[in-house]
């Protein structure tokens, strides 16, 4: 667990907002990701949770260098991916693959399953020589629990869960070390979600994969993750192992998020204290000063508007042997009992 395979340092992505058609003038920027740092260890699953617009998918794209970072570093085995291009980037991407959310739009409807899963070999021919590819694709189909005879079928002949398996097989084709999963099960039916989650768990053990698992379903993230990071409006607000985040959250946003999750137990509804946040997430084009959560936070004080809290172990929990002693970006971090996502 100790070896960091991916180190993200102060990653920033601003999308420029422009005005004018011929002469484009930049009038601002959408601060989708604004200074995010974390490590991904070998063989672990890091869950990233947050609401839509918090920047979690942008982080995923930055890690793949599908988007160019505005600033900051993504170090893969000590090498900064954000500065790579051409051959060097291609080599790195072989080891970092992605599984997308929507199995309906992420597979080309005009390609057969064999072509889809085999396409990575076209780009990286060194992984599988030409004559060997068909057999490799069939092996991959078998690994993800699909019938290898389906190799000539088209995506529309498969259900959502099966398509997501095809997407996973494509992600596995090049024997990557890291797989970034962006909401891999949220488009699937409840009864099929568990199948795909189990498959991903099995593959992780078999191939020693590191997962970055982005999702908004907190209970699934807890099930699969070793560590969990919570994002809000382009910032990581809290990160820790699953028990620290789910049982001992110290950031008010994490507490509100956990308390808002409906618990599948009707007995809990009478005596559950829910934190209902007011208002909506502010626009990332014009985020609040200081702590970005302060506009919806019940603890906010003057200090929150002027000083941006850093993601670090809060002062009061330093040198304390407690699960509450984990990184949390809040001036007034403290524990609060919330009945969270089980």
């Amino acid at each position: 667990m100790a070896e960091a395979i991916l180190e993200v340092r102060d990653l920033v992505k601003h999308f420029p907002l422009t005005q004018g058609i011929i002469v484009k003038k930049q009038i601002g920027a959408v601060k989708a990701v604004d200074g995010v740092s974390f490590d991904l260890y070998r063989g672990e699953t890091l869950g990233i949770v947050g609401e839509s617009g918090c920047g979690k998918s942008t982080v995923a794209k930055l890690l793949m260098n599908l988007e160019r970072a505005t600033s900051g570093q993504v170090l893969y085995k000590g090498e900064d991916i954000t500065r790579l291009s051409g051959k060097a980037l291609k080599a790195v991407r072989r080891n970092i693959q992605m599984v997308f959310q929507d199995p309906y739009t992420s597979l080309n409807p005009r390609m057969t399953v064999g072509d889809i899963i085999g396409e990575p070999f076209e780009i990286h021919p060194e992984v599988a020589p030409k004559g060997d590819r068909r057999r490799k694709v069939q092996d991959l189909l078998d690994v993800v629990g699909l019938n290898p005879e389906y190799i000539n079928r088209y995506p529309h002949q498969f259900s959502g869960g099966q398509r997501q398996r095809i997407g996973i097989a494509r992600g596995l084709a090049l024997n990557p070390e890291i797989i970034i999963c962006d909401e891999p099960v949220s488009a699937l039916d409840v009864s099929v979600q568990a199948q795909v989650i189990n498959l991903m768990g099995r593959l992780q053990k078999e191939f020693d994969l590191s997962y970055m698992f982005i999702a908004h379903d907190l209970s699934i993230v807890r099930h699969i993750s070793d560590r969990v990071g919570v994002m809000y409006l382009g910032k990581m607000v809290e990160i820790g192992d699953d028990e620290q985040i789910y049982e001992h959250p110290t950031h008010p946003y994490t507490q509100a998020l956990l308390s808002a999750v409906p618990v599948p137990d009707p007995e809990s509804r009478e005596h559950r204290e829910r934190i209902i946040l007011t208002g909506d997430v502010p626009s990332p084009a014009n985020p609040p000063s200081g702590c970005r959560f302060r506009t919806r936070c019940w603890k906010a004080q003057d200090k929150c508007a002027t000083e941006t809290p850093l993601l670090a172990i809060p002062e009061r929990f330093k040198n304390v042997d407690s699960p509450a002693a984990h990184e949390s970006a809040c001036h007034f971090a403290e524990e609060k009992d919330v009945v969270g996502a089980a």
Partner: protein, 342 residues
């Protein structure tokens, strides 16, 4: 449900305890190029004033189609209702003229859709669309309708309603748009609201706000609510009773507290077991094997038999009736006793 079946609406109508809405043996099919898709195959349910019925099911289970049939907004053709009755206050709506139904729709029964952005007209202001309810149904003037629209927006707690009444749907956030949908449904103070996945497109913290608002308005106006969802958590939070649907049939109905404690149908049990639980961390999730059936080729006997761990020969030949398990519960399983015990 079984209680409702024993007493017809004519009898109960006399004693004044007729359910607000009662669906009896409803069948809906769609004639497609590939054959007849049997979307709803004999659904029975009822809702009383002030009560919340949750209809739980995966995509393709027929939960939305049933609601559309109740609302009278099915596309016919290709849809067809070969059989069934839908009583609203003791009157069979399927026997009414289009004109009579139109009077009920919106005034007596209103619907909230999942995707507010596509349910609202993008080229008309929300004030105009809200006011339309009053202009069309109550013949109010434009000015009065606008005042009513502002009142409604206030009621669903949209900040600065007076200033925002002229704004267009795209200028609102997802949560605010869903509030506008709720306002529109509430406009004429209907007796029954059908909410089809009202919070599926929303983030959890916003979902909590919207569900609370809906519950509050329901209490205030003593409405019946049919909540269509696939989220076991949301159901546990708000429902009084649950109807679980699979392949166009109700497989289990029960009061909310009982079903979570002891499901009486293997499908319900499978769904509940596949929720990640704390003590299962790191283990495989329970997964219902296989896939939901193709509605063009529903398996003979019990539609769930190919996926059921308890299936016997009788399940492949005989359709299990929705039989009473207790006074308030029913299950469509040949082996409900065994399911309930184990």
């Amino acid at each position: 449900m079984t209680i409702m079946e024993k007493a017809g609406p004519e009898q109960t109508g006399a004693t004044g305890t007729a359910p607000l809405l009662e669906v009896r043996d409803l069948h809906v099919e769609f004639h497609t190029r590939d054959g007849v898709a049997k979307a709803v195959n004999g659904v029975n349910y009822s809702v009383n004033a002030g009560e919340t019925l949750a209809v739980l099911g995966e995509s393709g289970s027929g939960k939305s189609v049933t609601a559309q049939a109740v609302m009278g907004i099915l596309d016919m053709p290709p849809g067809r209702i070969p059989k069934g009755e839908i009583f609203f206050r003791g009157q069979d709506m399927l026997k009414m003229s289009a004109e009579e139904r139109r009077k009920i729709r919106g005034q007596k029964i209103a619907m909230i859709f999942q995707d507010a952005l596509s349910a609202l007209n993008p080229v008309l202001s929300v004030g105009y669309q809200l006011g339309e309810m009053f202009r069309v149904h109550q013949g109010l003037s434009k000015k009065d309708a606008k005042a009513k629209a502002i009142e409604l927006m206030d009621r669903v707690r949209i900040p600065a309603a007076k200033e925002r009444v002229g704004d267009y749907p795209h200028q609102f956030s997802g949560g605010m748009r869903q509030r506008i949908m709720i306002a529109m449904a509430m406009a004429l103070e209907p007796d029954l609201i059908i909410a089809d996945e009202p919070t599926t497109a929303l983030d959890v913290t916003v979902q909590a706000q919207v569900m609370e608002l809906l519950a509050e308005l329901q209490r205030e106006m003593h409405m019946g609510l049919i909540l269509i969802t696939h989220d076991l958590g949301v159901v546990a939070d708000v429902a009084d009773k649950i109807a679980v649907m699979y392949a166009g049939r109700i497989v289990e109905t029960a009061p909310v507290h009982e079903i979570y404690k002891a499901p009486a149908h293997p499908y319900t049990k499978g769904l509940l077991d596949s929720i990640p639980r704390l003590d299962q961390k790191g283990q495989e999730l329970y997964a219902i094997k296989g896939l939901p059936p193709n509605l063009l080729r529903i398996p003979s006997g019990c539609a769930f038999n190919p996926r059921c761990p308890m299936a016997q020969d009788v399940c492949r030949t005989d359709v299990p009736p929705l039989a009473a398990v207790s006074d308030t519960r029913a299950s469509a399983c040949h082996f409900w006793k065994e399911t309930l015990d184990g």
